[in-house]
């Protein structure tokens, strides 16, 4: 049985996965013009600066779009069916969406605009940020 795939970081994305491993979420921001972008790129997509930095974010997000996967195209995900892939807007990094799973939720209870918070799943040596509905008592 194949395992679920772990991300293979590169020089631009390494900060993202290193932060995740420490239980933090950060996105790529430009030191020159402040642009925030996702996925991380080699240059700022606004001013082309190469001075790019990791900007910590709170991990609070809003559900933008989702799909409930009913057919596994990778064998490792067969036992996880149905599962939710979603795009979420980070509350403190407007203008970008990141892709993720929504976990700890019945897909039927989810809708666009729902408040979410980040949680982390260990995948071998790598930590993968996922999201769940914001817990009433906070975390």
């Amino acid at each position: 049985m194949t395992d679920k795939q772990a991300p293979v970081p590169d020089r631009y994305s390494a900060f993202y996965w290193e932060n995740a491993a420490r239980g933090r979420l950060a996105v790529q921001a430009c030191e020159e013009c402040g642009q925030v972008q996702f996925p991380p790129n080699a240059v700022c997509e606004s001013c082309q600066s190469q001075s790019l930095t990791a900007r910590p974010v709170s991990g609070r997000a809003t559900l933008y779009a989702m799909t409930v996967i009913r057919q596994a195209f990778h064998p490792a995900w067969k036992d996880s069916l149905p599962y939710v892939i979603a795009q979420v807007q980070l509350d403190d990094a407007p203008g970008i969406r990141i892709q993720t799973n929504i976990v700890q939720a019945d897909p039927a209870d989810l809708k666009a605009g729902d408040p979410l918070e980040v949680v982390y799943e260990q995948r071998g040596d790598v930590t993968v940020p996922q999201f769940r509905p914001t817990q009433k008592n906070g975390t």
């Binding site: 194949t2 679920k4 795939q5 772990a6 991300p7 293979v8 970081p9 590169d10 994305s13 996702f38 996925p39 997509e45 933008y64 779009a65 989702m66 799909t67 409930v68 996967i69 009913r70 057919q71 596994a72 195209f73 990778h74 064998p75 995900w77 996880s80 149905p82 599962y83 892939i85 979603a86 795009q87 970008i96 969406r97 990141i98 892709q99 993720t100 799973n101 897909p107 666009a112 995948r123 790598v126 993968v128 996922q130």
Partner: protein, 382 residues
Amino acid sequence: MAFATRATAVVGVGYSTIHRETGVDSRPLAVTAAKQAIGDAGLTTADIDGIFEYPGQGTQIAVEMQRMLGIRDLAVFGDNSPSGPSGLAAAQNAVMAVASGACETALVFRSVTREWGQQSGKSEFPPADGPDQFLAPYGDYGAVIPSMGMRKYRRFVDFGGSEEDYGHIAVNARRWSALNDRAVLRTPITMDDYLSSRYIAEPLRLFDCDYPVTGACATVITSTERAADLRRKPVVVDAMAQGTGSRPSWSFADDLVFGGTIDCGNRLWERSSVTPQDVKVAELYDGFTHITISWVEALGLCGIGEFGDWVDGGRTIGPGGRLPLNTNGGQLAEGRLHGLSFLNEAVLQLREECGDRQVAGADVAVVANAHGPQCGAMVLTS
């Protein structure tokens, strides 16, 4: 003078047989379609001095076709990468080549096998690096299927509407394919059939997805001046455009719902001698039904978000409707020939050679391919 600026026309179209066999070498199919298109134009292989194809993989490349057709040399040729607007990308390259004088007469082809792009049953996966590192770890497999599911979801959020809106595209495809001998799926389906087809990536259903086939189609493009002497009524390329949308990406674009279709549509009409109100027949990509709905709106055939009212229970787009859509059954029913067949069907409609499915008075057609960051569209007139 080194460069020309001249009008272009489509003068020949051709098809291989279309079927569901697997393990087929697509090259002989491509040759069959190419020879038919060249013959349809009243030309011979010796008249072809440019070849363009999509998507430039394996043995499906322009110069391989040149060899097989025994063409001694080409003035221009090109293999459009899979990041372009599907088969129409190759036709657009041919238009540009002829318009600029890079060649006189260009052959365009796309041949595809049923296995091409197949997503189910895979056991080997490349490492989740590059853009995939933000997709694969979340179980985002099946090419654009999850992203199409999210597009459909978000369209409901932004504009309301119902699953029936999507169902009309699927039902319409079979109404037309029943009139097209070439189509692989010709049995009519009902809205109930659509609504009971299984979810793949909910809300994306099986009947939102096109039907993989083995087959090829080809197109011949030359100058309007040369076209005047040829066998068929020339179909003039009135305008063409491409579009990507801002921050182009299948997953992380600024506009998830429409991708680059709106920019492409606006650009197309700025260049055209006619308007959306003049369109008599529309051949709009239906690799997924969401793509077709996007194009109907992005091309101004109705307002943004207004497809559900406009389609009028399917009457608008069916046989005898106000704006017949995908009159060959599209890729949902004729089969996934991957883009170029939309152009060929528009040409056949404007030549009034479509028999039972002929749209009366068809003199302006609009064609569009793909979605997301790789949009292309064309206006054709007769």
